[in-house]
């Protein structure tokens, strides 16, 4: 097995030349809905020695190595556990912390964004799982994930906000 799993966001360098050539010949340089339509019409799929042919009704391309499929699935599950952790953290802030003195909105301002972030992370993880799976099926580079940026941005914002809330409740 020469194809290397390059991880989320990495550029897959291994692209079987034979399959790339077949795809170019078939002119299937389109996004995944369009590719699915092509497959549903019985469009041609590239062939590969070790991979079974794509069946109608599935996204275009051929079934990737099952290890890549499973790794993609584990990434999705890990993001969903992250989402659950964010939800429970937000709920804990709202329900378990004592109210900040002089900042009655403080707990909600900190907790609710975390809960909303949990929902966003879960939905985005599903969309990215689909995107990655489609890329794997077509031996294309793995698309870069936006989830780390969303996570970093929101957590940084919540951290800054919690500093503000603490300062306001202590100083005023």
């Amino acid at each position: 097995m020469s194809k290397a799993w390059s991880g989320p966001g990495g550029k897959s360098t291994a692209r079987p030349a034979k399959r790339a050539a077949g795809r170019a010949a078939a002119g299937r340089r389109c996004h995944h809905w369009c590719a699915r339509q092509t497959a549903a019409r019985g469009g041609a799929t590239g062939s590969h020695d070790e991979h079974q042919e794509g069946r109608p009704g599935e996204p275009g391309g051929t079934e990737p190595d099952v290890r890549f499929t499973l790794a993609n699935e584990r990434t999705f599950l890990a993001w969903n556990r992250t989402a659950l952790a964010l939800v429970v953290a937000g709920l804990g802030i709202v329900q378990l912390l004592p109210p900040f003195p002089r900042v009655p909105w403080g707990r909600h301002a900190l907790g609710v964004p975390l809960i909303v972030l949990g929902a966003i992370v879960s939905v985005t993880a599903y969309r990215e799982w689909r995107r990655t799976q489609t890329a794997l099926r077509r031996s294309e580079p793995i698309p870069q994930s936006v989830l780390p940026r969303i996570l970093v941005g929101t957590i940084t914002g919540v951290a800054a906000l919690s500093a503000v809330v603490l300062l306001v409740s202590a100083v005023r």
């Binding site: 097995m1 020469s2 009704g57 599935e58 996204p59 079934e63 099952v66 290890r67 499929t69 499973l70 790794a71 699935e73 584990r74 999705f76 599950l77 890990a78 969903n80 556990r81 989402a83 659950l84 952790a85 939800v87 429970v88 937000g90 709920l91 804990g92 709202v94 329900q95 109210p99 009655p104 909105w105 909600h108 907790g111 609710v112 809960i115 909303v116 949990g118 929902a119 879960s122 939905v123 993880a125 599903y126 799982w129 689909r130 799976q133």
Partner: protein
Amino acid sequence: MLPGRPEDRSPGAAALPEDPEDLSPGTAAERTRLAWERTAIAFGAVGLAMLRGEPVAGLIVLAVTPVIWALGRYVSATAPPEARSRRLLVVAVAVTGVAVLAAVAALLGHGAPVRLR
């Protein structure tokens, strides 16, 4: 060690393949099953945490836990792509539902003072 799984005995370093998984391909499926179980446990933990403040929401989340666990039991290398997609959609919908429940509990729940002055 699962029945039917090849023994994970590494041969000499010279015989190691490029990808260690080539030695025993079952480990990827096993890792994935464990990831599903961790996810189910996370659901259970969230449900228990919510049970204290919001018993109804907590019970709903706890009821989802065995569903996630059962989905993880059927991680199969040969599952058709559409079935896999549907199973993961269930997880995404469940997590989003938990987030919605938590948001409602945070904004309207017991002992949650929504007095914005």
